[in-house]
């Protein structure tokens, strides 16, 4: 009876592992194929039979993408936009979250309600008016136009996330600082922000990746090739050279490498962020 039980459990675990491994193969196959293609000479990218390990692997696609196709420039643009967005969004949303979590003032619930309602509106609905607004503000073809609207778009969720974290910080700590004569700005900067580092890390990661990967807004307001970010550069490049798959995927690998590094380092914050955004809400 007990032995049968154990055997059954082992069989179940084996089945589990087999199914999960099959799933992993499906998840990784497209990535593997992309990476393998990025090392293929252009004549071989649509070769039959399909080869996962190219016969004559070459890094030519990476060299060409980085040098003659200006992907170094697009990479830099993406870095500037993503970091600028992250810093601005974290500063502004943590200030708002602090006001909502620690102050009572007229209009508080209305303003917070507006933020929550706006979170439910599909971002694409705002695309046309945002485009007209950016045009009127002379923010078309400008990295500032990307940073400003990415920041605005990230404020709602970040404020919501940080607000609930700030609320859980015991107010006794702040009261002690008040006794020592610290004003609200000191408390915000010296106490709340350092204590909220885990939540700030989660917000920073999601904001950075969101800005790094954003496509539609950049596609809409950027025409000038010197202002391309990586996502639109890759997509437009593929549109113009529809058969240069090796180059396209070399550029894609360059674009997703930083994401994978961040993901590998900050996995805990990822899971925390999903839990905060999903299960708790």
């Amino acid at each position: 009876m007990v032995v049968g039980d154990r055997n059954q459990r082992r069989a179940l675990m084996a089945l589990r592992l087999i199914l999960l491994t099959a799933g992993v193969v499906v998840m990784l196959l497209p990535f593997a194929y992309m990476v393998s293609t990025s090392f293929k000479p252009n004549a071989m990218v649509l070769e039959i039979p399909v080869k996962f390990f190219p016969q004559h692997p070459t890094v030519a696609n990476y060299v060409t993408a980085w040098t003659s196709n200006r992907f170094a420039r697009y990479f830099l643009n993406s870095v500037v936009v993503a970091i600028g967005t992250t810093l601005a969004a974290l500063l502004l949303s943590s200030m708002m979250a602090y006001a909502f979590a620690r102050f009572r003032f007229p209009g508080r619930s209305i303003l917070f309600g507006l933020i929550l309602i706006a979170l439910m509106v599909p971002t694409m609905m705002m695309l046309i008016p945002q485009f007209l607004l950016a045009r009127d503000l002379h923010l078309l073809n400008s990295l500032w136009g990307l940073v400003a609207f990415y920041t605005g778009g990230n404020l709602g969720f970040n404020t919501f996330l940080l607000h609930s974290f700030f609320q859980d910080i015991p107010s006794e700590l702040e009261e002690a600082m008040v006794v020592d004569g610290a004003g609200p700005w000191t408390r915000y900067w010296r106490l709340i922000l350092p204590l909220a580092r885990p939540a700030l890390a989660t917000a920073a990661i999601f904001t950075f990746l969101g800005a790094w990967d954003e496509f539609t807004w950049a596609l809409t307001i950027i025409n000038d090739p010197s202002k391309y970010t990586l996502p639109i550069a890759i997509a437009l490049f593929q549109g113009q050279h529809s058969t240069s798959w090796g180059l396209v995927f070399a550029a894609s690998v360059i674009a997703i490498a930083p994401v994978l590094v961040i993901f590998a380092i900050f996995q805990r914050q990822f899971v925390a962020g999903i839990a905060a955004g999903a299960v708790k809400a």
Binding site: M34, G113, I128, L133, F215, Q238
Partner: protein, 323 residues
């Protein structure tokens, strides 16, 4: 809404316990300063939020009532609800809606079932659990642009990996399928991409929910002799029901919002056969520069999304009296 603690009590703490709160009185200088500080903290962020988010939301509806003049300074023609009437008589709008529905019919159930399956399998002590979770989540963190291009490449008719597997290797199909060249096969390819990219997300959410189910419940059921499957149905499933409802709502909303993959894999073609609501909106607005009609389409999409979320929340609410 949410209870505020803190600053009020902290200001009384500074007074050394001289409590004045509770009795109505005109705002003191300290209270006025507190309100001023709150507004100063809010001002820069909320100003940007109002400008880039709230104002465009209102403006979207306004634009949808006009034949919008592109050139600044020229007058737009007020149309009332004509853009909306146009949408309801536009066969491509209905096709786009049907395609969005078809996309959801593929992606929502598959992400729920497969995500739940993976979560259940990972909700136990087992080797390499963290690695499995990471790998399933990999597509979620990868950009839509990159995965859309990868899948476009996989589904190429001559020389694509999918046809190579189906036709050349397994001989399941007599000829290579022109996946992206026809409506339904292209929508299937888009649906496969959507499922592949999203299943890791639903898995992580379900896994977090399953781990929140009290172990004692499982143990009690196990003592009663319930088998694993019965325990899942009797204990886990009811416990994570609200999360399933929540995931369903988000997946439906996400399904309506599909855009980048359609834009990059088919461009809505051939001849508008694979348009979804947002790709059609984008084409109307930024290819034909019909901002009024584009706004009407996106406003209809928003309405649909709101109605469906409300309906689903009602539908999934646990019936009163059920334990």
């Amino acid at each position: 809404m949410l209870p505020t603690r803190s600053t009020h009590s902290s200001s009384s703490a500074r007074k050394g316990g001289a409590r004045t709160a509770g009795s109505p009185r005109p705002p003191s200088a300290r209270r006025r300063r507190e309100i001023l500080h709150a507004y100063l903290f809010l001002l820069p962020g909320f100003a940007l939020f109002a400008l880039t988010i709230l104002y465009p939301i209102v403006r979207a509806f306004q634009i949808s009532l006009f034949h919008w003049a592109i050139v600044p300074g020229t007058a737009s023609t007020f149309l009332g609800l004509q853009n909306y009437a146009h949408a309801l008589h536009d066969p491509i709008f209905w096709r786009a809606l049907a395609n969005s529905g078809f996309y959801m019919a593929i992606t929502v159930p598959s992400q729920i079932v497969l995500g739940l399956l993976a979560a259940v399998m990972l909700d136990a002590r087992m080797p390499a659990r963290a690695i499995f979770r990471t790998l399933y989540y990999l597509p979620v963190v990868t950009s839509w642009v990159v995965v859309s291009l990868v899948f476009r490449y996989l589904f190429i008719t001559e020389g694509g990996l999918v046809n190579w597997i189906l036709h050349d290797t397994l001989h399941l199909v007599p000829t290579n399928i022109n996946w992206l060249g026809a409506r339904w096969s292209a929508m299937v390819a888009l649906g496969i991409l959507g499922t592949w990219k999203g299943v890791g997300w639903s898995m992580v959410v379900f896994l977090a929910a399953l781990q929140g189910v009290p172990k004692a419940l499982h143990e009690a059921a196990a003592v009663d002799g319930a088998r694993a499957w019965d325990r899942f149905v009797a204990v886990s499933l009811p416990a994570i029901r609200p999360v399933v409802a929540f995931v369903t709502v988000l997946l439906v909303i996400g399904g309506f919002n599909v855009f980048i993959s359609v834009y990059l894999m088919t461009g809505g073609g051939p001849v508008d056969q694979t348009q979804v609501l947002l790709s059609y909106m984008y084409r109307q607005a930024f290819s034909f520069l019909d901002f009024g009609y584009g706004s009407a389409i996106s406003f209809l999409l928003t309405l649909i999304v709101f109605v469906i979320s409300l309906a689903q929340m009602r539908l999934f609410r646990r019936p009163a009296g059920a334990s």
